[in-house]
């Protein structure tokens, strides 16, 4: 694949050292008025640069809340969120908006494309907010994601899988430090979902740091070698999985010698 786009290089370290830690969440709580689910209760997590991490948990466990706090779209009730050396709690609204624009790519379950803009225009929005025309890069991304031929279509005329690929292009247009994906295949059929997951795996192999939220353990372990389990607002497990090449017979047995005797 030529004309490939290099993603994930952390360009703007804010003077911080270039060690591999990218996200540090320390003892955060999030309390919602009226006991809405999704609260967090004392969560601490660090994410390394270049990691593909899955956050897994049932609905209402707080896993999406955690993602929103890392993205700077929401603020914790207490505790700190530091991303790329920037303490998000120290940023005002404008600073937080700038942080999101420059460092965060966000992919959602229901795409959230603007209906009155074409695919290409949707992809370009985050760059335009920055005053960056970026049309060359947008074209490259569309090409890369296999949606060049629908660039001028409106979202309503795209399939779910195409809409999600447009949303991914939009998330990548500003070369985000961190790509966040909240159930990105949740609204897709299995084939489109597999394509989206394949794409995330490819981006990760090229160095993109990815944080994936899902309730699906099969998806969580597809590319992520680290799975953080959240239940009732708490991290109950932080599993670092191994990824050796195993022979089929070491992974799955329809019937073993011993059992067949």
């Amino acid at each position: 694949m030529d004309g490939r786009i290099v993603v994930g290089a952390f360009r703007d370290g804010g003077g911080e050292n270039r060690m591999s830690e990218l996200v540090r969440v320390t003892d955060i709580t999030k309390v919602y008025q009226g006991g809405i689910t999704g609260a967090l209760n004392g969560v601490s997590v660090t994410i390394e640069q270049g990691e593909f991490t899955a956050i897994m948990g049932p609905s209402g466990s707080g896993k999406s809340t955690l993602l929103n706090l890392v993205a700077g779209v929401d603020r914790p009730t207490s505790g700190t969120v530091v991303v790329g050396g920037t303490d998000l709690g120290k940023l005002g609204e404008a600073g937080l908006a700038r942080f999101r624009r420059d460092h965060i790519g966000f992919v959602f379950q229901f795409f959230y494309l603007l209906p009155n803009l074409t695919a290409l225009e949707n992809v370009l929005i985050p760059a335009q907010l920055k005053g960056d025309p970026a049309s060359g890069r947008a074209r490259e991304l569309l090409e890369r994601l296999g949606i060049t031929d629908v660039a001028n279509r409106y979202p309503a005329r795209l399939s779910g899988g195409q809409q999600q690929r447009v949303a991914i292009a939009r998330a990548l247009i500003n070369n985000p430090t961190l790509l966040l994906a909240d159930e990105p295949t949740g609204a897709l059929d299995r084939r489109s979902g597999d394509q989206v997951m394949e794409l995330l795996g490819e981006l990760h192999r090229e160095g993109q740091t990815i944080l994936l939220v899902t309730h699906d353990a099969k998806l969580a372990t597809r590319h992520a070698a680290r799975v953080i389990s959240v239940v009732d607002g708490k991290v109950v497990d932080d599993a670092r999985l191994e990824s050796p090449e195993r022979a089929a017979s070491d992974v799955i047995r329809v019937r073993s010698e011993e059992a067949s005797r």
């Binding site: 353990a217 090449e245 992974v251 047995r253």
Partner: protein, 177 residues
């Protein structure tokens, strides 16, 4: 199931001798079922005794004998294929017995056991995902489908661990005695 229907199914396509049956069977299963040549010969002898296969042609070099499906073998194969897999569910894994015992033992450390088992299932899912990816890359769609089944089974096991983790455990096991 035994090897019996696997052998019948392979002979349906063309006559084969023992080693060919072994090789094709292992290739079909992608290494997920160990067979030794002795089992194949025993199976072929029994099938011949029961009239489901019959020798075809002369013995080749080193006494290799090919077999073909008889009409009775064909019928047995068709019946088996038409039959759904039913009967009691086979649970081969130790975790089922461990859990039953742990609920009866005061220091069974159920929570720890469930957490460790959950980890093991996550690792298995990871291994299965990578195997599925490799099978697809190698064009082994049949193996990839098998692995997909294993993924779904493991997901169910993991969900079971989650359900158990949210339960309170007492010494309920003791009451059943």
């Amino acid at each position: 199931m035994s090897l019996k229907y696997g052998v019948l199914g392979l002979l349906k396509a063309e006559p084969l001798h023992g080693y060919e049956v072994k090789n094709r069977f292992e290739a079909m299963l992608g290494g997920t079922w160990d067979v030794n040549i002795g089992q194949i010969y025993t199976t072929l002898q029994r099938l011949e005794r029961d009239g489901l296969v019959r020798p075809v042609g002369a013995r080749g070099d080193r006494g290799k004998q090919s077999y073909e499906l008889s009409p009775a073998g064909q019928k047995a194969l068709d019946d088996w294929l038409a039959q759904p897999d039913s009967g009691p569910q086979q649970l081969h894994e130790e975790i089922y017995v461990k859990l039953l015992l742990a609920t009866r033992i005061a220091n069974g450390d159920l929570k720890g056991m469930l957490a460790r088992q959950k980890r093991a299932y996550l690792q298995r899912l990871r291994d299965l995902n990578r195997l599925e990816e490799r099978a697809r890359r190698d064009g082994r769609i049949d193996l990839a489908r098998l692995v997909r089944g294993a993924l779904l089974h493991t997901e169910a096991d993991l969900k079971w661990m989650d359900e158990l983790s949210s339960e309170r455990f007492g010494t309920e096991g003791a009451k059943t005695e």
